[in-house]
Symmetry: C2
Subunit: 354 residues, 2 copies
C-alpha cells in the first residue's frame, strides 16, 4: 500500500442493475420505460454549434418548464443529473446533524451507501410483515427522514395522510419523499409543500418520462429549502445540466398527452401481468410503480433469476435476507411480458417435474 492510500476515503459503492452489453435481450431489470420518449423529444433539433458555450448554470428553460408543469414557482425547483444526484446533494445539505437519519430496511439500496460515504449516522426501520412502512417509527427524534413513495423494490404506496403525519411531526428535520415511481399510481406529496417547509419531494425523468438516458432528476419544496440545496450544488459543480438535457427535458414536459398515454399503457400491462403470474402461484405485492415485486412459494427467486438470464431475460434479484425470495420485474411491453410469462410457465412446469 502506498503512503497516500492511508488518508483517502474508501467506500463500498452502490451496484446498479446490470446494463447488458448484448442487444437482443428482454430487459426488465432497471425499471426503464418500454416506450420511447415523446415524439416531440425525438423530433427536436439540437444546435450542436452552441455546444461551444457553457449551458445556463441555472438551467432556467428546464426549471421553468418543471415549475409550470407542477404549478409552483421556479424558486421551488431544483434540478440535477438524475434523481440520484438530487438525493446525494440533499444528503450533503440536509442530513448534517449528529443524529441518525431514518429510512426503511427494505428500500432503495442507495440510501445507506450515501450515508456511509458521507459519514452520516443512520438507522434502518423495519417495514412490517406486509412490507409496509410503519408510520409511527418515523415520529421520534432524528436527523432526517427519507423513503420512496411508492417504496422500492416493493412498489407499495402510502396515502397523503400517512405522509403528512410524518412531515408535521418532524419540524426539526427535513423529510424527503422520493417519488420516482409516483406517476404509475402513487399519491404525490406535492400538495403539502406549501404547508410544510421541511418537506422535499424528489422526481425523475428516468421512469414515467422514458428518459433514463438523459439524466434528469428534480426536487420541489419550499423556496428556502431549494436555496440551501442550490448553494451546495453551486459549491460542487456550477454546470451540471448539459445543453441536450436542458432542451430535451423541457420538450418532454410540453407533451402531456403522450406522457399520460404511455403511463396508462404501463399500468394496464402491470395489472394484466399481475393477474397472470398470480395464476402461476406467485404472490405479488400491490404495486403502484412500473414494476412488480413477486415471490413463488416453491421456486426460489434466485433460481428463476438465473434461469431467466440464460434465456436473455433480465430481471432483478436482491440478496438481502428479507427479500431474497422475491424478484423485481420491470413492466415492459405486452409482448415482452408474454415472453417472460411463457418462460415462467415452462420453468415452473419443469420445476414441478423434478
Amino acid at each position: 500500500m502506498s503512503e497516500w492510500e492511508k488518508n483517502i476515503r474508501k467506500t463500498i459503492p452502490y451496484v446498479p442493475g446490470e446494463q447488458p452489453k448484448v442487444k437482443d435481450v428482454i430487459k426488465l431489470n432497471t425499471n426503464e420505460n418500454p416506450y420511447p420518449p415523446s415524439p416531440k423529444v425525438l423530433a427536436k433539433n439540437l444546435d450542436m454549434k452552441s455546444l461551444r458555450l457553457y449551458p445556463d448554470p441555472a438551467a432556467s428553460l428546464l426549471v421553468n418548464a418543471i415549475a409550470e408543469y407542477h404549478c409552483v414557482k421556479p424558486g421551488q425547483v431544483f434540478v440535477g443529473v438524475g434523481s440520484d444526484d438530487v438525493i446525494a446533494m440533499s444528503f450533503i445539505t440536509f442530513f448534517n446533524s449528529e443524529k441518525e437519519i431514518l429510512f426503511p430496511d427494505i428500500t432503495y439500496s442507495f440510501y445507506d451507501v450515501w450515508a456511509e460515504m458521507l459519514k452520516i449516522p443512520f438507522k434502518r426501520m423495519p417495514v412490517n410483515s406486509d412490507f409496509r412502512i410503519v408510520k409511527e417509527d418515523y415520529i421520534c427524534d432524528n436527523g432526517g427522514i427519507i423513503f420512496p413513495n411508492p417504496n422500492a423494490p416493493t412498489g407499495i404506496s402510502e396515502g397523503l395522510d400517512f405522509i403528512e403525519e410524518i412531515v408535521k411531526n418532524n419540524t426539526k428535520s427535513v423529510v424527503i419523499i422520493d417519488e420516482a415511481y409516483v406517476d404509475f399510481g402513487g399519491e404525490t406529496a406535492l400538495p403539502l409543500i406549501e404547508k410544510y417547509d421541511n418537506l422535499l419531494v424528489v422526481r425523475t425523468f428516468s421512469k414515467s418520462r422514458s428518459m433514463a438516458g438523459i439524466r434528469i432528476g428534480y426536487a420541489i419544496g419550499n423556496e428556502k429549502l431549494i436555496k440551501y440545496l442550490s448553494d451546495i450544488k453551486y459549491s460542487f459543480n456550477s454546470y451540471t445540466m448539459n445543453m441536450p438535457s436542458i432542451i430535451l427535458g423541457a420538450e418532454s414536459l410540453a407533451d402531456d398527452e403522450y406522457f399520460k398515454e404511455t403511463v396508462k399503457k404501463v399500468v394496464i400491462t402491470r395489472e394484466w401481468f399481475t393477474d397472470e403470474v398470480k395464476k402461476l402461484g406467485f404472490t405479488v405485492l400491490p404495486s403502484s410503480a412500473n414494476f412488480v415485486f413477486m415471490s413463488h412459494e416453491k421456486a426460489p427467486a434466485e433460481d428463476i433469476f438465473k434461469a431467466a438470464r440464460e434465456k436473455r431475460i433480465f430481471v432483478r434479484h436482491f440478496s438481502s435476507d428479507r427479500i431474497k425470495n422475491y424478484l423485481r420485474v420491470t413492466i415492459g411491453t405486452d409482448d415482452e411480458m408474454k415472453v417472460f410469462l411463457e418462460f415462467l410457465k415452462e420453468y415452473l412446469n419443469g420445476y414441478a417435474l423434478n
Copy 2:
C-alpha cells in the same frame, strides 16, 4: 428560522462567470472556444429513442476513446460532468486527512469553495511577485496538493521538472494537476503518471474541444487512484454521463486534425492580441492558455470591465486584492478581438483626455 435550518449545511457558493441572456454580445469572460465543435460532432445523429434506457454507467465508449487518445489503459481514466465534477469527486476521495491541503493564493477560485463545503482544512500558498507558483512551498507535510498548469487566471505554465519535483516529494499525499488549459501551450504531466502513483491529471472538453455545453471532464492516473475515485463516484451517482455526452465526446476525439487546427488558431490570435494590447500600454502575463491576464498602469481594470460591459463586451474581473487591477480576457475570433481592441483604444484615449 425554522427548526430544521439549524442542522443543515450552509455554504457560500462559487460564482461562475456571467452567462449573458442577451444574444449579440462579445463573450470573452468564461474561456469558451470561439470555434464550434468538430464537424464530426455537428454531423452526428443521436438515436433519441435509446434515451429510454439508462446510459452505460461506465461510459465505456467515451472512456475507451480517451484512453486510446492518450495511450493509457481504460482503467487509468475517470470521466465526470465537466472537470468541476471530476475535481469535486477528487476532493472527497483524496483530500481526507486532518492535514491542510495546499493550493496557490491566485488560482481557480473554486478550490477554496470545495474545501470550505467539504470541511477540508486548506492553506493558500502565495504566488511570487511575478505571479509564479513557488515550488518549494509545496514540499512540506500536507493533506494534498492541487493547482492548474497553466495556472488560472494568470495563464502562466510551469515545466515538467517543476511538476515532477513536487510530485516525487509528496509520496504521502495525492497531487492533482488541473490541465484545463494545457492544450494551448502548456506542458502536460501525463508522462509522469506511470512513474508516480500519487499523481492525478485532470482535463476538460470545455476549452480546447469547444464543448463546454456537453459537460465532460476527465482524470488520468494510476489504476489504483482511478479505482478509489470511481468507488466514490459510484457511491454518489451511478449514471453521471448522459447518452449525448458519451457519444459526442467520443466523436470529438476522433477528429484530431480539426482539434489541432482550432487550438492553433486560438494561439495565433492570442499572440497577435498580446502584442497589440502591449502597444496600448498593457502589461500582459505570459499566457499558455486561451486567455490573457492583463493590467494597465493608468486605467483601473474594474473601470475597463464596466465600460466594456456597457458596449456588450464581456470580460472577467476578479475583486481579490492582488489581482484587482487585472482583466482576464478570453481569446475569441480575430474579429471579436479587433472589436475589443478598438474599444480599448477609444477608452484609453478618452481616459487620457480626462
